[in-house]
């Protein structure tokens, strides 16, 4: 084995190790998030974030008092209101939310969108959920 080959092999192994460690900690540190959609006085809905259509893959419309809002989910950045049927566009200006506890509120539409942690997800619960039975 040439010296360069050995160096390349060592490099590969080192990089793989670093990536594995990174992946391990990134995975265990964050619990699965769910998006909670609610309107005052009505039942809430929780949707596992992993089941949302991602990026440009589709629009998601939420009906509201003033027509509604369009949401999108970008795995790297979070959840974001793209467009809203209301004059102030405050919810659009909120930008991305990506941590449990953060929320987007659209007052004219009376919609509250909140990220919540899905606790109680053990290691085996890490697989992606398609829905949550209330």
């Amino acid at each position: 084995m040439a010296k360069t080959d050995r160096r390349i092999l060592a490099g590969i192994l080192a990089a793989a190790l670093i990536l594995l460690v990174f992946q391990y900690f990134a995975g265990s540190g964050s619990s699965e998030l769910a998006l909670e959609v609610s309107r005052p006085g009505e039942e809430r809905l929780r949707i596992p974030i992993s089941s949302l259509p991602q990026g440009e893959q589709g629009r998601w419309h939420i009906e509201g008092a003033a027509g509604g809002v369009y949401l999108s989910y970008w795995p790297e950045q979070g959840v974001h209101v793209d467009r809203a049927d209301c004059p102030d566009q405050a919810c659009v200006k909120t930008g991305f939310i990506n941590k449990a506890g953060q929320s987007i509120v659209c007052v004219p539409n009376q919609i509250i969108i909140r990220l919540v942690a899905l606790d109680g997800q053990g290691d085996r619960g890490k697989e992606e959920l398609d829905g949550i039975l209330k």
Partner: protein, 394 residues
């Protein structure tokens, strides 16, 4: 000139090697840095609306395979599987919602204009007159009657437990929960006296119904959402094999088609004692519906006891056998019906009943915090490791 060329080719070689190292490392570590952004755009449409006192979301996606097929077709194979456009998906979703809204309007007992089928039936209850109602209103009652006969044949104690004629009793308990004052026994008895499925008369062919007892009323709360979810699913299924998705109405979830990677649908089960957390995940097959009845969905704690919304016509009170029961069937109304029925029965009887009914599986979280399922579901459920619960083996 020559030196420069050498330099640049050496640099290129190094860059190539570095890229190779990185790529191998990525593969070894399980693709953590897979080429990320280059995901094909597959049409999808999701929509959320507020109806039947709940938040309903419908998600519909095109199957990526249908795109490949279409591209292959463009290459001259001749076979074309059309990839639905986002607009086509949107139209299916909107049609499904219209259908659900139609059902919601007809079965609404609290319409301010008093113009729903159920309100009109109640208004002329006991006067002997037939009332023309929508096909849905008759169909729901007839399906409930059929399910009731099937259940009562398998287990006599199940007869009459899921009662659509409990409007008076439901109103009484709603007031009690709002005022936090328990109803008097005599009021419970008089509300029960104004109920009974025997007083409901249906005429499916004639599209009409009548209630043969004055002041009685119908409440489809135990089954209407299941029926609506099923009807929405029927419309979405018009997209055929080119689409897959989910109708998520909170306590009732229906799957549409198969996920493209072939994996089963995974649905989280809420921990009834700590509803912010999950207790298990259940696998659903294409077209299946899961429905949950739980004591944590609508309740009020009065005098140290939890008074929830699932009432027994036997004594006119909430039933405390289970914290939650989830029923799974290929039919939405059936799943919804059985989630209530199995909740109302003592768990042992309920299990015996569920095992004897075809196309029905169920999950129990009993008041004693015991967890068990029908035999057919044992390999399709993954329990979270939760303190305080006992997994029961049969």
């Amino acid at each position: 000139m020559t030196t420069r060329k050498d330099f640049s080719s050496v640099t290129k070689a190094y860059i190539k090697k570095a890229a190779f190292v990185f790529l191998c490392a990525a593969l070894l570590s399980g693709g953590a840095v897979s080429c990320g952004a280059e995901r094909a755009k597959v049409p999808s449409f999701s929509s959320t609306r507020f109806l039947m006192d709940t938040v309903v979301t419908i998600r519909l996606q095109a199957v990526e395979g249908s795109r490949t097929d279409r591209e292959a077709a463009a290459g001259g194979t001749g076979e074309t599987v059309a990839l639905p456009t986002e607009e086509e998906l949107e139209q299916l979703v909107l049609a499904a919602f219209s259908r659900m809204e139609e059902i919601a309007v007809k079965t609404n007992r609290h319409d301010p204009e008093e113009s729903s089928d159920l309100q009109k039936l109640e208004a002329q209850a006991g006067d002997g007159q037939w009332l023309e109602v929508s096909d849905d209103t008759v169909a729901i009652q007839e399906q409930v009657n059929r399910l009731e006969r099937e259940a009562a044949t398998a287990l006599p104690a199940a007869g009459g437990l899921v009662d659509t004629s409990l409007a008076r009793l439901i109103d009484l308990w709603m007031t009690a929960r709002e005022s936090k004052v328990l109803p008097r026994e005599e009021d419970i008895q008089s509300a029960l006296a104004l109920s009974g499925m025997d007083y409901i008369e249906t005429d499916l062919a004639g599209g009409r119904m009548r209630l043969n007892l004055a002041d009685m009323g119908l409440d489809y709360g135990a089954v209407a959402k299941g029926y609506a979810v099923e009807e929405a699913g029927r419309i979405l299924a018009q997209g055929g094999a080119a689409v897959y998705g989910i109708v998520d109405a909170g306590g009732n979830i229906k799957t549409i088609g198969q996920k493209p990677d072939g994996s089963p649908w995974q649905i989280g089960l809420t921990d009834p004692v700590n509803p912010q957390e999950l207790l298990a995940s259940i696998e659903l097959a294409a077209g299946q519906v899961a429905a949950t009845s739980g004591d944590y969905q609508r309740y009020e704690d009065i005098e140290g006891r939890r008074y929830h919304h699932i009432l027994s016509p036997a004594d006119g009170r909430p039933v405390w056998h289970s914290h939650s029961v989830t029923a799974i069937s290929s039919d939405g109304l059936k799943a919804d019906y059985y989630s209530t029925l199995l909740f109302l029965l003592p768990p042992q009887d309920a299990l015996q009943l569920a095992e004897s009914i075809p196309d029905l599986e169920a999950v129990w979280v009993t008041s004693a915090k015991e967890l068990f399922t029908t035999s057919g579901l044992q390999d399709r459920i993954k329990w979270q490791d939760k303190a305080g619960y006992k997994l029961k083996d049969w």
